[in-house]
Amino acid sequence: MCRCSVFCWKICCYMRSSQTDFLRSVVVVSFLFHRVHNTSNACDDDDDDDDDDDDDDGGGGDDDDDDDDDDDDADDDNDDAAVLSGVLVQRRSRQSYRSYVGSHLGFTPGFPQRRLTTSRVAARGRRGARAPGGRGAAEASPAQLALLAREWQLSYVTPLYRFRHDQLRSYARQLGAFLAAETRRGEAAEAGLEDGLKVSITLVAGMAQTEEDADAVFIQMHSKRQFAAPDDPHKLAWSGWLACVGGDADYLRSLPPDFVCLPLLGASGAEGLTALVKAWFRRTFDCCFGPLEINSVNLQWLAALWTDCHAQTSIQQLKLVWSLPVEPPLQVTYTVHPQDAWELWESVRQPGERGEEDVGEEEGEEDGSIAIEEVARFIKGLQSHFYRHFRVELSAERLTQVSTALGAAKHSGRLKISNSSYMITTLTLLTECALLKMPI
């Protein structure tokens, strides 16, 4: 398989747009042309993290575009959308199925309306409410801080059967024994006597947002080095967390009390260990895991949510990566100056649905709801600006990556959160995505 050479040039244009006064942007556009020598292996080009994206091209590509449509349609309540595609229909039927299942299938009374909400609480609004002093990031607990500054691979998890938060210590011991048994495959071990990896499972306080949310759980594995001094810090071999942040209350309430719903798993560490941990959870709590991709719509949401925080915490830059379905594959990295992004965001926010009666009232927005139309307008603004200069219609392409100083997310389900203040908002969105994937 041939590696492809990457042609890259950057067009740095320092421009002051005369037509649109909101975009005084420093736009750094870098095109990454992946020229493939062997055309038959055209799809095997790789940027460092593009492997996953490429894998998803088959099914995922369609999903995203259609999700756009879907959510737009949803607002207009237009059920006659012409596009008949998997996800669109799937989501619609799921919604319609909800009422049906609720009344019909005995064991899930009150099937939740599981689709992406069209409006969500902005991060700053929430923070303002909770910490009037505006202490910023200082309010995060140390356990929460552990979730920062690492890249997590996300998965969704079906509800855990008979998971008990008061048994975490015992779970840790069992998981350790399981890992030991699996790594020394074919050799039995006495339960409870693990060596090699030291597993700890702890509670992360303060993540649950509602009554129904189960407390988040943090799992760490430290490897013991054989010749380490006793006071040497153990090396962190794997870490992961399970969380439910602001999950759909109806859905959570509909589950019998034996089930604990922690639909979001973030894992960081060796793939093999992730697989083993998943296997143990599957075996112990009878749950299932599946990959959680973050589709275009959700990435757009994240872009908007993070930009919205700029007034409090600088986002440094807003970087969006689009992938273009052309041959050879093309990737557009679109970096926006934070101030420009903020102003564009403000401009799409101002004449919003909140009506003309309270135009320009900052306080009115402090209640903190962001509507999907605003997100759509924001992205559209960015795209039309790009089109004006480069004649490339980004709206037809697939958004694969969003990153700011507050966090970064990729289509393949990789997530990095850098600032604890806005963690909850991000995780709420992702919890929603994970709940959408639940089979029932």
Binding site: D55, V89, R94, H104, L105, F107, P159, Y161, Q174, P256
Partner: protein, 738 residues
Amino acid sequence: MAVTLHLPRPPDLNSSSSTDSSSLNRSVNRSVRVAEIVRRKTEAKDSLVAALKYFAEVEAGTPVQGNDELERNLVSVERVAYSKGLSPEAISVMLEFAMSLRMGTSPCVRVLKCLLPTTVVPHQAVVRAVVWLCVGKLPISTQVVFIKWVLTVFDMIDAKDHLRAIYGFLFSFVTEENLCPYICHLLYLLTRKESVRLFRVRKLLELQSKLGKQPFLLHLLSLYKVFCPELVTLSLPSRMRAGFRNYNGPWKSALIAIQKRNTGQVSSDLPLALETMERSGSRKRKLGHMDLPALTPVVQIQTQTSYNKAVVPLAHINSFVKLLENLHLIELPAQMGSLLGSSLALQYLDCVQDESAFLRLNFWLGHALHEEFLFCGHGGASHSTDEVVKFLERLLSSQHFLQEGFSSTEAFLYKFLNVWDGSLLRPQILGLLSSIPVVPSSCIGRLLFEPLMQLFLTSTLFFKCGLIDSLNGMLVKWLTWHSVYAREDGLDISLNSHTSMNMSLSGFMHSVMELVQFVGRLASMGLQLEGCHSLLLSFVLDFYDTVCDMFRKYGLPLLVMPPVGVFYPALFATDSVSVDRLAQIMYRYKINLTSAKKQEKQTEQAFHISRQTYLEFNRYLVFMVNCLWNSKVFQPGTAVELSEELLLRSRVPQYKASFDLIHHPAFLGHAVDFHRKCWPEKREVDLNSIKPSKVWGWYLEYLFTQGFDGLKQFIQSNISWRPSSASGAKTTDTDLEK
């Protein structure tokens, strides 16, 4: 070490010999040849008795070398053993002789090799032999032979509980390196939950560290893990052989031969295993969501609950009898998905009332189906269809067994039908479709009919047939549910045995009505699209076979007539089978309608069959009789009217009679045949010569002998006709009109 052993006394040999001699007396009167055989037999028996007596009484320290007596007795025992096997008493004597080493080690192995039981092995003998084993004078190789022998005849030992009592003694032999594999096997056969102790686990682990990953240790440990998952963690290498090696070397074939000779049949030595599934062998597949999880018991974490309730993990149940005995104690496995892997577990699932259990199963199943068919973001195409087919087949057979669809399958199908191309895994998906439980009429259209309609209209003939068949299956299942779960007041039926949700009878009837009408629409369009293909027509008529009997067979006060798009194509079909089936269906309709009417008059019921249905039926009936019998097709006032002019322009002679039983394209061939048989000398075929009532009667008789039973029933029930009267006929359907 305080186990008391019941040492058996040497058995009473005299009693057995006396019964032998009495049998001899009985056979005196037989023929000489038989008598000769019997004599030889008794001789052998006598010599056996003598031999056993010798072995029972021989003194310790008797020399072996040059001992002719020993040789002679041993040979006679061997002869009997290899031909018929040894009686329990003989086994006791010989085993005692061999293990006690009364004549040293040299005859020991030879004796052990001929210990072939006829019926059972007395447990006392085995226990006593183990006692001799504990004395420790036996050479290792002989010990191995002995344990192998025990393993071979294990199933024939009469009371194994006594062996379990000396579990500890047997366990102590695992340290013997040569004996270890066999002892492990024996322990494996004897292990109960009580015998799993921490010190034994530790001993085995210690051995494992010494001997390495030996399969026999792992098997025993994995059994320990099944009983006490909290004591031992273990994961078996995927490529490990299942079960222990067969150590039964010299005995097995001889035993089978003896059994065959004695009883004429071989008891199967296949253990009734709970686990029927084989692990998937392919290494290629990365995503395991289509694999059934293994049946493993729950690891007890909350110790307070584990010991005060005596529960039996499902994994321990290995026979139906055991399942019945422990039905109230069974604990569900750690992963509910594993239940689909075994038929016994499915039996149990049928009686599970726990909603959480079903939810777990549905989460797993739904996840597997979603990942495979809907999310497939990870190169779904690369999955081997074999595995998927196997998975779906298993799902189908489970649903078939439970006679109930899983709700996650149902939810999955509603989504999948929208993206299905109609060809991927068609038989399986259609199979799943047919087991969808009753859908409320309010959403049946959106969930089922819209996607199915699209698929139907854009697909091949075979898909159309398959879909109609699948919907027929669905209807039959719904109606069966109704007749099984209908409450006595007839108004409420519980939809699903595992839920408390009920559906009112009117709601159910609406759903059935919707379904029947939907299939009617599909069938009309399908027949039009496919040019009234007889294969499709046959499937459609299958469906109406079910529909026409809804009242009589399933007690549902609802009858729906086929739409014109089905009725006329069937009536004018070119194959006589379709017409015959239509006649049969009309006959069943008539029976159902008349009995419904009768019941209506007798009892005050909340639901009546609508008057419209009667009218529709009568219209069809009149037309059918006019067409087939009265030769009055296209008459004004009947369902199909054509203007006189048009008919004349078509230049069909006698157009009115063109669809009667003689001229109907489906029966024309029969009419010609009949004509030839009646008038073999006539060159010209004049079909009108069948018309006269006498010949007409013959013709009918002829048709009935051709197997047109439907037609026969139809005619006999609807047309009062005497051959003597003129060819006129009249319908007697007026009584149906309200």
